[in-house]
Every structure is written in C-alpha cells, then in structure tokens.
Amino acid sequence: MVTLEQNPLDLRRDALREIGNIGAGNAVTALACLLDRPVQMSVPHVGVLQANRFIERAGGYEALAVCIYLPVKGDAPGHVAYVLPFESACQLVDCLLMLTVGTTREFGEMERSALMEVGNILTSSYLMALAEMSGLNLIATPPGLAMDMAAAIVATIATAFSPEEDSLLTIETRIEEGDLKIEGHFIFIPDPGSLTAILRALQVEF
C-alpha cells in the first residue's frame, strides 16, 4: 500500500500537488459562478502535512473552525473536506446570502444549509478536476457539517477516515476580494489503496 508519509519520491507528491492546484482552481471558478462576481484566489501552500502541523496552520488547537466533509465513492474511494476558520465561514455565508460582509455572527439552520451547499459545490468541483485528470470514476455523496475546535475536527477526519495515516494532503486557499478574506483548506484523504489507484491512473511511476 502506498502511504503519503513514507513517500521517498517527490514525483508522487508533485503529482498530488498538481491535482491539488487544479482542483482548487476548479473550485474557485465554481464559487465565482455561484457568487456571480470575479473572485481572486491564491494557493499559499499545497502539500502533505502531519495532522498536528496542520492544526497549527488552521489556527490553533482550540480555534473555532467549520468543516464540510463529503465521502467519495467510485474507483478511488476516500474523503474530501473543506476546513475553514469560523470568521471565514461567516464571510462565506454573507457572500452567499448577499449580505454585507460582517453581518453573520452565528449559525442558524439557514446559515448551516448555505454553508453545506457551498462546501458541496467547492469540494465536488475539486473532485471533478481529479476525476478528469485521472480518468477515474469518482462520485461525491451528500456532505456533513461540523463546527467545533480545529483540533477536534482535524483529528476526527484524520483518524476516522484513514486509520493508517495521520498525514493529510492539504491545499491551503485564500480568497481575497475587497473586504472579503476567506481562508480555507481542502483536505483529500484517500482510503487505503486509493492513492495507488490514483497514481496508477495518472501514470506516475512508483
């Protein structure tokens, strides 16, 4: 089985990075369509991070974070998650509900639903990029939402979904547009064996 951690060849990591970049690009295009305005997005960091390091990057152990997670079925089953700090999630909701940035301060049913929807679109378009590149059949399933301490969320997705592995393929994204500033991380967690399938489909030697 291929794991990310004991990966001596940069080639594989590069392939995954490339998937990450393209995936995030697709996701932001989808977001721009949804918001009906141009959106600038940068990708400050793509790479494989250990869960603990990731938590630090995501704002610290006890920082309030929101996570939209969806299981992936098909040729390379796994999980895709979008983790963002609470403030960023609020801004994202403001955008979606066409409110002035800074309006949303807490989450009700409406806000949760909106967030789940945008998370769904972002993660699905990320997935689509991966599917197109690899030619694999990947099916997104309905999303789940969590709002809690960053450490609790990351630990849950890192361990519950990939017991063998506590390293995560993460893509840090930053959306900036006027007073809008949304920071978030896409996380891709392949099931055991799925990484091999993806790399094989991408014809990366390993």
């Binding site: 152990y61 969590a146 809690d148 609790a152 969320i153 630990a155 849950t156 361990t159």
Partner: protein, 212 residues
Amino acid sequence: MSEMLMVGMAEIKTSTQHENTLVALGLGSCIGVCAHDSLAGVSGLVHIVLPDSGGDLKTPGKFADTAIQQLLAEMIALGACAYRIRIALAGGAQLFSFHGEAPHLDIGARNAQATLASLEKARLPVIAHDLGGNRGRSLHFYGDGRVRVRIIGETERELALLTRTAHALSAGEETHISDKHSEKFFKKNLEEYKEVQRSMLPFPIGIKEKAS
C-alpha cells in the same frame, strides 16, 4: 516550576510534579484518559485515537486496547501503585451532522466503549466521565488531581477530583480542600464515589462507615 504538558494524538505523558498540568486540547472522537495516584504523586494522561489496535504494537497510546496497559506500566515505573490509581475520562464525540443518513462515523462511541472495557479489564476505577455528545472537548488535568473539561461556548467545569483527599472525604475524615468548587463538586458525587470504591476489591484502605 510549573509546566503545561501537551498530550497530542496517540501520546502518553506522565508527570510526578505537583505543579504540572497535563493538557489534551480538542478531543473530538478521541478520548483523554486521566489517571492519578495521589499518594505517589504520579499523574498520567493518554490521548486515545482509535478503538482497536488489531495487534499493532508500534504506537500503544493510539488504541484503546493497548493504551491503558501502557499508561499503567509507565505510571508504575514512576512509583505508582495500580490499586491506588483513579481514573477520569472525556471525549468520544460525534462532531459531524449529516442531512439524512450518517455514514460510519460512530468512531467516538466505539472509542468510548472500547476504552471503558479496557479500564474495566485493568480493574481501574472510573470516578467520572464525560463521553459522547456532538461537541469537542479540552481536558486539563492538574497535578493535584483535579480534572477540568472545556467545551467551546461553555464555561470550563470540574469533572473530577482524583485524590486521596477525596477518599478521606468519603470516609468522613477531616479534609483540607482549599478549592471550594471542588469540595462542592465532590460532596455531590460522594455516593457515587463510595459505590465505585466498594466495587474495588484489592483496596488497602477500607472505607470507614460512620457509626450511627
């Protein structure tokens, strides 16, 4: 010098310093198990991640079935006695909510179940626990045996006091608990505490029931 010892995922940390605090931040589906021998002054905290090791012994702190034994062994090496150790644990939440049917995300519940089973097997008395729910928790375990739990959006609260002072209190002896909050908490839980002690067999200090 007082120190905050962070216990990350799958880690076991022990302390023999009264001033030290063992901390597990952001327990989601994970479980934090606090163990304390107040006579020897040995504390230990393990951050359990998964219920079953399946025979993998590389990281004993990661799994409920291996972590408790390992924690016990490390504490005994520092002078603790198994029969004096008291336990408090927290965690095992289900953070994610789904529209409709939830997939196999009950890892928190399975962790809780496996950890309790493991503690029972090791005959370690659980004084208090805060398990399940859908909120993440932070655990602060002070060198004097106090265990506090914090949930986002709520005030920190006392979960347990794992000391001999507590035992003395249950036996009706004079105590010198300085923390009023702990005392109040403990008096409330006295009956439960006595019950746990009665169920423990090899216990050297018998509980003196007050003659009526």
